[in-house]
Amino acid sequence: MKSSKLFFVFLIAMTSVLLVIACSSDSDDQEVIKIGLLSPITGPISQYAPGFADASDIAIAELNQVYGFGRPRGGGYEFKLITVDSGCDGTQAATAAQSLVDAGVVAIVGAACSGATLGAIAVAAPAGVPMVSYASTSPAITTADDNGHLFRVVPSDAQQAVALSVVVSDAGVSNPAVLYMTNDYGAGLSDNFELNWSDGLCTQVGYDPTEGSYDASTLAGSVVDGGCDSVVLMSYATDGAAILEALLAQGFSGSVFGADGVADATFQEAFSDVSALDRLVATRPRPGTASNAKASFESAYAEAGGSDGAIYTNETYDAIKLVAAAVVSDLERAKGQYPDSDLLAALRKIGVNYDGASGVHTFDSAGDVLGTGYEVCQFAVAGTTVNFSCPTIWTADGGLSDG
């Protein structure tokens, strides 16, 4: 008897808390711009969520400094980021997107997982809220039924696969093994690499990058036992490091190539023995030549103590700043007619040769970005010091050249 009553009280208490929240949410300030962030805080890639949070905090802090109250240029906007959990899952992301829409965000940045992005756009597009994904690489994003509301700042895998295949064949190897993650990033990259690779592949092995689901030594063994002369690794940092260490442990001496999942100086932090990193060559999108957006973001990220081994942080930062720039330009253009403004057009206008931390972004008609080529970076280890440099670039027209 007592128990049921308690539960009843619990339900009522929950309702009344909600009532308080609901009644107090009427005082909206015009100058406050709310941007939603869908982040995979729980679920299979939760370990990357802190990096996204750190990058977006930096972006918001910079925005408030530039456009904040009392600044000569802006006229005073206050940006607020509302972060919700996408759970890397379409249903949960859509529910989270609904909560963001209910809170009155002008745009949503996210989500990371392609399934989550497609689930969320089904809510955001009817509500007229544009979405800019920072990490969804699936080609399904291009063709999504989004009424023009879905954009992304990550380039398609197809182009990077071309660059990677040129780099690998340029290194003079003929018999590479491809180790890749069975998520949309890894699988997409690997499929396109295979399409562009003229010779035979030694072996091709997919694995689930969730910790506890793969065994790096078995993966390394499949390369060594297959007699492959090189490895192309399509991985994130943590699993990539584990595989490289296992390759070294099993006496593999061939060349190793990687993609933008590992092409960063911070990759060495995922290692317990950096000598495994020696001679790794990896491609990543080429940053803009005119600005130092990349360098300044990365130093701010390091200064803020951003999460190690993070991925797509530059893209997250770019997505938020791009959205904010579009919102501000839209507000400036149509002051006073805020609800009837055309944010989509503003996004398209800002998204032309946008010089960001992750490269130069230009939205095409489907909301995808075309990059400006890739840089080819290499790691060189002497003792315990790691030298990271990107001397070569690759472009769709010019092929490989010195940068």
């Binding site: 009344s16 009644c23 509500a127 092995v205 023995d273």
Partner: protein, 972 residues
């Protein structure tokens, strides 16, 4: 034709099976090598589908043959058959592969590196065992599946990491590499992880499970409560340690390239398929030695050492005897003076402690994140089931088998995958434990521990026989069994001697305890009463109701038809009120929100209906709700996707009908091999099927559609009435709802879902009240009695499974339309099956009204807590102050209180900017977990318990009906 059938039917069962198996094998052989046979002639299937169908056909034929062969074996050979079964199945698999590859003119090379496979196998075995041993111990003594075991392992890992960060030990962890291994930190971490995690296990046992035991909760309730505990624990770990990964480094030297054993190895190369001049098997030359790192050795030695210690405790000490006594019969143990609760506490300590130790050692190998446990939990369940639930030696053997299988299957999958254009095939290594388990359960339905036990019994019996020198005819006669008795029955007949009975009771009681507790006389269990004023005043009454005298309340007995309806109405209206109160900015967004909630409640409602039919009514613990939902969603998506993007271009309605039919057929077929399995085995088979489908979505190219490049996922499929809706209906609906523009599609979806739910609800309620519903209930209460009454259990179970599967597939179709795309993560059991189970248990099993309330609660909780998360970022909202207050409390807890336990470093590593912030998303997870645990503690039978029904009989029919029997039911 009929003649032929008659002749077929009179052939004895064994011979029929033999003929069927041989026919399938031969037909498959013809199909793959000579392009003839049923599959080729039918011409329906092409390329990939063709060889897939052929290999499925050959596998099925081979399995039927093996099963027939094994079931013919004499009972004394039980052990041999169990050992032979996996080997035969592996050989069969290789043979099928050889035939398929030859038919396709391709060849595959598989590299079996002997040391690599055996040592990786040991590593996997140790990792799985650290969770599985606790699971099996909880199962043995406390009799429920503890889902929180994986979180216990993580807890141990974080204890080790906290210790590493402590002022005393950090110098060791951070010391430069000097080539000298330091053991101190590793040993202390192991000891601390064991003790601290063990104590946490005891505390949780006292707080949650002890109370549930006191209320005579069913194992299912305990299991769902453990699910809630797991959510809370995971959320706490997230809040304290964040989502970033951390590693436990006992000393940097442990990770040096020299810190490993070089194990010499041999490499076997197996060439299958179209071999030109290669032998079948060759031994490769110049093989690098296999490197086994010290950290892996420490995991293997630590976990296996702890398990051996546990075995010694169980079998050589007084405590162990007490534990086994409690496991056998708690009442008897209590009456012979054993302190049962203390034994429960000890078992909770040991099972959590070993998991913690394993976690601490695993943290030295893998980067740890609170999400890690889940990927090891499900295989650990497979290990437990494989080794026969509750058997400690069995679980060790099971872990070794699963570990080696996992390691050995990888080369096969890689080799075959490359030959068959499926490089992703190695992703299936993850589900190989499940595939193997399902296969083995079909061949030897009682697991390995059972075989070990049999073997032991046989040994003891033989020894006794030899000693007595008598003829012992009664025992001997047992071996001669009449023809036609099934395998299961044979094995149960052997249980005769005194030793058997005691051990048998231990194992059987676990299985039967579920039905036993369910069937407790209703008046024995306390009748739960909802007291409230009428609906309108409900809120006021319950808040201030504590001081109001009972006389002012209306008593509602929720276990009567009328009371149940009233309670349902009250709960439903409260939840509707919550939906009404959810904030939103405009009319359009509110419409979107409400339509989305209606659709989600409908989808989850249909899923709980399906679960209620399977589990609540028929008594089969179905953990594969998402399997049937997945079949529905994937079929709808694939069939309705355009042909130019790898789909089939069907109309949505056709696709839905076919999806529902496919799922129903799958449910029906599933019944035949599994309906005789014990409750827990059925649960693990269904959960395995869901995982297999999930991994297939990741790894199988045929299950991809929506893009020209066949990327992972299914999208771009047509949705029903979309064209009609967009061409005017949406505008009309929009103006009706008072929107500026047309109404979004989700409104139409909400209407369709409501219609579907009401139709299915009506249908199920009619069926529940029909004689068939009563038969299903009788199967749930006591299968044997029901069978004695002349009901064909198998057919009824199959029908129940098929119907529930069809309902689940309908939910899947609706889900696919809501999400507009299907990605593998949607099948994650944490977000589907487990939530549905929570809704089912909280709502009240056996009661469809409860299902709706449970589903509504599960859906709405997510929305409500999201409001809280959103409010945090917004200083305009009143709640913002609450959240900053929460932050300061949390900071006080972590820094000032927790600071007494852990070092400042452990805080700064996690919160690098020196501000301790409470992550509300994770608080949300914890609160959802608390809602589940709280609801179960307060009301273990659910919010709306099952209403005992007694069909009304017209007085005139009374005398006649007593002799009437249900038609068409007979035991074969």
């Amino acid at each position: 034709m009929y003649d032929l059938w008659q002749r077929w039917v009179v052939i004895p069962l064994r011979q029929r099976q033999l003929l069927l198996g041989l026919f399938l094998l031969f037909d498959g052989y013809l199909g793959s090598i000579h392009g003839a046979g049923i599959v080729a002639w039918s011409g329906i299937l092409s390329s990939d589908l063709k060889w897939l169908a052929l290999s499925a056909e050959m596998m099925a034929g081979g399995l039927v043959l093996i099963r027939t062969m094994l079931s013919q074996a004499r009972p004394g050979w039980k052990m041999t058959t169990v050992i032979a079964a996996p080997i035969l199945v592996a050989l069969l698999g290789l043979m099928v592969l050889e035939l398929v590859l030859s038919g396709l003119n391709r060849s595959a090379t598989m590299n079996f590196n002997v040391s690599s496979i055996s040592l990786s196998g040991l590593y996997w075995a140790a990792a799985y065992l650290s969770i599985a041993i606790g699971l099996t111990l909880t199962y043995k003594v406390q009799r429920f599946a503890n889902f929180a075991q994986a979180e216990m392992m993580l807890f141990g890992a974080y204890v080790a990491i906290i210790l590493m960060w402590s002022n005393r030990f950090f110098p060791i962890a951070d010391a430069p590499k000097d080539g000298v291994l330091n053991w101190e930190l590793l040993i202390w971490a192991g000891i601390f992880a064991f003790i601290v995690t063990g104590l946490v296990g005891v505390i949780i046992d006292r707080l949650v499970f002890k109370r549930l035991r006191g209320r005579l909760a069913t194992p299912q309730v305990m299991m769902i409560a453990s699910l809630g505990v797991a959510m809370v624990l995971r959320a706490l770990l997230f809040m304290r340690f964040g989502a970033s990964t951390f590693r436990f480094i006992p000393d940097r030297d442990w990770k040096l390239t020299t810190s490993r054993f070089e194990i010499p190895t041999e490499r076997l190369q197996l060439h299958l398929g179209d071999r030109v001049d290669q032998p079948l098997i060759e031994i490769a030359e110049n093989v690098n030695p296999y490197a086994l790192s010290y950290t892996r050795v420490s995991l293997i030695v630590g976990v296996f050492g702890a398990v051996v210690l546990l075995l010694i405790i169980l079998h050589r000490t007084r405590l162990g005897r007490q534990m086994r006594a409690v496991a056998d019969n708690p009442d008897l143990a209590a009456s012979s003076g054993i302190h049962v609760e203390r034994v429960h506490g000890t078992s909770a300590f040991l099972s959590a402690g070993i998991a913690g130790l394993g976690g601490a050692l695993l943290a030295g190998i893998l980067p740890i994140n609170p999400e890690l446990g889940l990927s090891l939990l499900l295989p650990a369940f497979a290990v437990v089931v494989l080794g026969t639930i509750g058997s400690v030696p069995g679980v060790i053997v099971g872990a070794l088998i699963v570990g080696f299988l996992r390691a050995a299957s990888e080369p096969v999958l890689i080799g075959a995958g490359n030959a068959l254009d499926r490089p992703t095939a190695s992703g299936f290594a993850e589900v190989m434990p499940f595939v193997f388990l399902v296969g083995l359960l079909l061949l030897a339905p009682r697991g390995i521990g059972d075989a070990i036990q049999h073997w032991n019994i046989e040994r003891i019996r033989k020894r006794r026989l030899a000693r007595e020198n008598g003829d012992n005819s009664p025992v001997r006669s047992v071996f001669k069994l009449p023809d036609g008795v099934s395998n299961v029955k044979e094995s149960s007949t052997v249980y005769i001697s005194g030793i058997n009975e005691r051990k048998d009771a231990a194992f059987e009681s676990i299985g039967s305890s579920i039905s036993a507790v369910l069937s407790l006389p209703r008046d024995f269990v306390e009748q739960l009463v909802v007291r409230s004023r009428l609906v309108g005043a409900a809120g006021y009454a319950s808040v201030s109701g504590l001081s109001i005298r009972p006389g002012g309340w209306i008593r509602i007995n929720r276990e009567t038809e009328r009371g149940s309806w009233i309670a349902f109405a009250i709960f439903f209206l409260i939840l509707v009120g919550v939906v009404w109160l959810l904030p939103s900015v405009s009319n359009l967004t509110k419409t979107l929100q409400v339509a989305r909630i209606i659709t989600l409640v409908g989808i989850f409602g249909l899923m709980t209906f399906s679960l209620n039919l399977h589990t609540g009514l028929t008594g089969m613990s179905n953990f594969g709700v998402i399997f049937f939902v997945g079949i529905g969603a994937v079929s709808v998506g694939l069939l309705a996707a355009p042909t130019e993007t790898n789909g089939y271009g069907w109309a949505p309605w056709q696709a839905t009908i076919v999806a529902v039919l496919i799922s129903a057929v799958a449910g029906w077929l599933l019944a035949y091999p599994t309906a005789r399995l014990r409750v827990e085995y059925f649960a693990i088979v269904t959960i395995s099927l869901g995982e297999m489908l999930r991994i297939s979505l990741q790894a199988e190219p045929l299950l991809r559609a929506g893009t020209v490049t066949s990327a992972i996922g299914i999208s771009q499929y047509a949705r029903p009435l979309e064209g009609w809706w967009d061409s005017g209906a949406s505008a009309r609906a929009g103006s009706m709802l008072g929107l500026d523009g047309p109404a979004p599609y989700v409104v139409l979806l909400a209407i369709m879902t409501t219609v579907a739910v009401l139709a299915v609800w009506y249908l199920l309620n009619t069926l529940f009240a029909s004689p068939w519903g009563r038969i299903l209930r009788s199967i749930r209460e006591d299968e044997n009695v029901s069978q004695h009454h002349g009901h064909n259990i198998l057919t009824h179970k199959a029908a129940s499974l098929a119907l529930g599967a069809a309902v689940a597939a309908l939910a899947g179709a609706l889900w696919a339309w809501l999400n507009t795309s299907i990605f593998p993560d949607f099948m994650n059991p944490v977000r589907s099956t487990f939530l549905v189970w929570a809704a089912f248990i909280v709502g009240g099993r056996g009661n469809n009204r409860g299902m709706i309330v449970g589903a509504f609660l599960i859906v709405i909780v997510e929305f409500v807590f999201n409001v809280m998360v959103v409010a945090r970022s917004d200083s305009d909202l009143a709640f913002h102050n609450v959240s900053s207050y929460l932050d300061s409390v949390y900071s006080w807890l972590i820094v000032d209180v927790g600071g007494l336990i852990w070092s400042a470093r452990s805080i700064s590593e996690v919160f690098p900017r020196d501000e301790v912030i409470l992550s509300l998303v994770h608080l949300k997870l914890a609160l959802i977990g608390l809602v589940i645990v709280g609801a179960l503690l307060l009301s273990p039978k659910g919010l709306l318990p099952e209403v005992p029904t007694r069909p009304k009989r017209p007085a005139s029919l009374l005398p006649a009906s007593s002799t009437r029997q249900d038609e068409g039911e007979s035991t074969p």
